[in-house]
Assembly symmetry: C2
Homo-oligomer: 527 residues x 2
């Protein structure tokens, strides 16, 4: 059994705290030795990806201490307990089983009276069968016409991950004949969100997936009502256009309001549910179930790498360790995720949830306050767009923000133009390379307005091309990185009690059970 201890009680952490040793990026990246460092400081990942950390403020000495920390914290042992079905989500008394949606790393996990790997596989098989019927025209609308559009109705984990993945693969699918249905997403309780999506589609040829684990998420039920209204107004029977993705115990599970229901369970947190039926239904309908299987295979391959005990072979673990070093020893407060791929436009927003909701906490897994920093603020936009936006602050601002770059050698469409001697894809790649070195090494200038201190750390994940497999591997990398950081900080990364108070107060406002400040704020909106 792994021992769950606060970070600041670990000897290896104290050694890091006491060490005054710091790495000067400008120095270690200079000259030929700098080139050697770039070649050496790289960990192979799944699906042809690699994690390069040459521009992180680490060297053999720091890496040695981080490896000690990994060992003393027993990161590999804790992950093993997790995938073997221990009750890791202590607060909610649940297992943490999202890895089982894409593979099995250890023992059979039996819970709720069933083999969970078989359960998840079975749900995906049901989805695949249903999707095949939709694509072949066996399941159609009342006029016998094929469905052309699928609309996901969900919020948070039922929205951000599946949406980011859909956007990431939409162009790839279009270029390769795999875009079988358009996908749209309705999430916000703002009525304009639902109305806007409904105006953009042909409801008569649309399937709607209601996604809510509990079946009680207010935003989602409200948006379902919008959709049902629109279907009825168009003279259609809503029950012939709607699917549910929910838990077997939810009120939605056996309702005749839905054409079909597919299940997840309480052992998969919303923000980790992209590889469950939550992502599976919409993505299998949009791209075909075999493409979703390829995505799952990529994630499974990366999960295997994440199970290796040696952080020098395990990019997710190393990334987590370096992140904790930056947060707790070097004192950096935010991290920017910067994919040089327009297709990953919403991937930072998904990671923002995955990371900040998992590790944005102040008490450990036993409910005791911790005396060290935990999860950072996560934000990001695709490059090169970000370069023309907030990079000014990243280069010359007063605070250092560690950077997580992502880049691919090839574009998804493969269509390109050659301008001034290079293709757009080469320009894109040249830009991310240039940024890494500019951030790390800086540039002296007598005019201090044009001077760059350097010393701004980054890592980069490099891949051949953004495909279902490499995207799956990328998602797994970050999920596992966040998990390892939660282990290091001794947090329960799988609950989210911080979202509850707002819900309670919102209900009070709607019930007019308010007084004082709450009443006056409500009055601003004439509630």
């Amino acid at each position: 059994m792994a021992e769950w201890k606060n970070l600041d009680t670990l000897k290896a952490y104290k050694a890091l705290e006491e060490s005054g040793h710091r790495v000067d990026l400008g120095k270690v990246l200079a000259g030929e030795a700098g080139g050697e460092r770039v070649k050496k400081y790289s960990v192979p990942m799944a699906c042809g990806l690699s994690y390069n950390y040459a521009s992180k403020q680490v060297d053999e000495e720091v890496l040695g201490m981080l490896a000690d920390l990994a060992k003393e914290s027993d990161l590999a042992g804790k992950f093993k307990e997790l995938y073997n079905g221990s009750m890791i989500n202590t607060g909610e008394k649940r297992l943490v089983l999202h890895h089982l949606t894409r593979g099995q790393l250890g023992d059979d996990v039996i819970a709720d009276g069933t083999n969970k790997r078989e359960f998840y596989k079975g749900e995906q098989a049901k989805i695949a069968e249903f999707a095949a019927k939709v694509h072949s025209g066996k399941v159609t609308n009342a006029d016998g016409e094929k469905f052309t559009t699928v609309v996901q109705i969900g919020i948070g984990g039922s929205d951000l991950g599946p949406r980011a993945i859909y956007i990431a693969l939409e162009n790839w699918a279009r270029a390769n004949g795999h875009l079988l249905m358009d996908a749209k997403f309705i999430s916000n309780v703002d009525p304009d969100d639902a109305v806007n999506v409904l105006k953009s589609i042909d409801v008569a040829h649309s399937l709607f997936i209601l996604v809510s684990k509990s079946g009680t998420t207010l935003e989602t039920l409200t948006n379902e009502a919008f959709v049902k209204n629109a279907l009825v107004e168009a003279g259609l029977d809503p029950s012939k256009h709607m699917l549910a993705v929910t838990s077997e115990t939810s009120p939605l599970a056996k309702s005749s309001d839905y054409l079909a229901a597919f299940f997840m369970d309480d052992h998969i947190g919303g923000r980790y549910s992209s590889s469950s039926a939550v992502g599976g239904a919409v993505l299998s309908l949009a791209f075909g179930p075999e493409i979703f299987e390829r995505f799952l295979a990529g994630a499974a391959e990366a999960d295997k790498k994440a199970a290796l005990a040696d952080p020098m072979q395990n990019a997710a673990m190393l990334d987590a360790l370096i992140g904790v070093y930056e947060r707790n020893i070097l004192g950096y407060q935010a991290t920017a995720v910067l994919p040089y791929a327009q297709a990953l436009a919403r991937f930072p927003a998904h990671l923002q949830q995955a990371d900040m909701e998992s590790n944005g906490k102040s008490v450990n897994r036993f409910g005791e306050p911790v005396n060290y920093k935990t999860g950072p603020v996560i934000f990001g936009e695709p490059g090169t767009n970000g370069q023309h936006s907030f990079y000014q602050l990243l280069h010359q601002g007063k605070d250092i923000v560690p950077l997580q770059f992502i880049g691919f050698k090839e574009s998804q469409f493969g269509t390109d133009v050659d301008i001034q001697g290079s293709t757009s894809q080469k320009k894109l790649c040249a830009n991310v390379v240039a940024q890494i070195v500019a951030f790390a090494c800086g540039k002296e200038d007598e005019n201090l307005n044009k001077h760059f201190d350097g010393g701004r750390p980054s890592s980069i994940i490099v891949g051949e091309k953004l495909t279902p497999e490499s995207l799956g591997a990328l998602l797994s990398h970050f999920e596992n990185k966040i998990m390892f950081q939660g282990f290091l900080w001794n947090l329960n990364s799988f609950d989210q009690e911080g979202v509850q108070l707002g819900k309670v107060l919102a209900k009070r406002v709607l019930a007019h059970e308010t007084e004082g400040a709450l009443a006056e704020y409500a009055a601003l909106f004439e509630i």
Copy 2:
């Protein structure tokens, strides 16, 4: 003449630093007094908006010191110098004239041999005339058919602001019969961005606007080539489909490659160019010039408010002062912008550029290092989506992140459903109200995992409805807030030298003029 002095040399700032006085939000918002505070701590803004700061960590004592700071820093005097045409952008030796695109607050500004207000008005008049011809069918494609789509090709300031504004008003325009043309945007040098947009439109009925002040932005010229290829492949003459927005001295200005050219100038920074021809052309084509005029009118009305010397009457100035108090005295590092309006989905991304590129700096306007924190990290997503994502960290994380909420009483479409006794719009408003109080006041719980410390500050801008006018006022508010913060920090908020080094290194990579680390990073991408 205003005196430009570093923040930490001001007496009022020293008084703030030395004051140990701190406001406990839970206490000041409690009971009836809390309700009174919400009513009182509000500044009327332009176009029916109001800025409420009752949940900021200020009281009469702090506000008094901030008012002293505004006075000693001569914020109103500096703004007056700016709008009267002083050379405020010292690094680039330029004036700062974006306010003149929407109104005139002071003296005539004569530069480059012309009255600048007349110049900007003249360009917008040219745009309006051209747009009217497009809308009426006097300017058509070669087959005499109307153009239905307008595509903006630009990056950074030529993209984020106009795109955010288009998205903000698209539904409003659709609901009110003002959506005359669809607008699309191509920005990233990633070839998949241009290919994706080109696949989504009918090029034969599309106008393309090339937006680059210098006429040399590599991303933009590269994307122009994509568009020209697509037009030629469709058997069309590119010069009949393309417009330019540029400076009069740019190589694009008089080229026969373009159907028409509209001008901005060097006195308008990219991130402040939404109200110039950069936003004017695409938005006048999409919505009609009279809608863009309404947007300008809203911004002009807010600019007038920003010229008031008393921060208690000037929301932009007060917001700026409170932000500096939070950054420099309370030590907060980031700010989240959280609009409760799906239409403002990309407004935080625009503010991220506007703020971080303006004030993410470490030297003052004289090129001397400053010893205090400057611009914070800015990020955000619309509510209620964010509630189901990163709010966990905002509520219970180890660092406090000040919040800037925005909300409206009415939706844009006006279409709604009533579920569990309230409309979606009421639920949306109830949620933002609840969040403010939850963040500020927290909640005691013996189970510390369910405990909320509170003391997390926010402000809210409340409006009736997101319209062209209120959106213009909102944009002006933030532009002016950023300007006042730049004055307080004694920065030049109008240059961006921090983006240059990356550009230089990217050129070296593309020219294979690399060695050491740069060469090895390039090798990762096979450059």
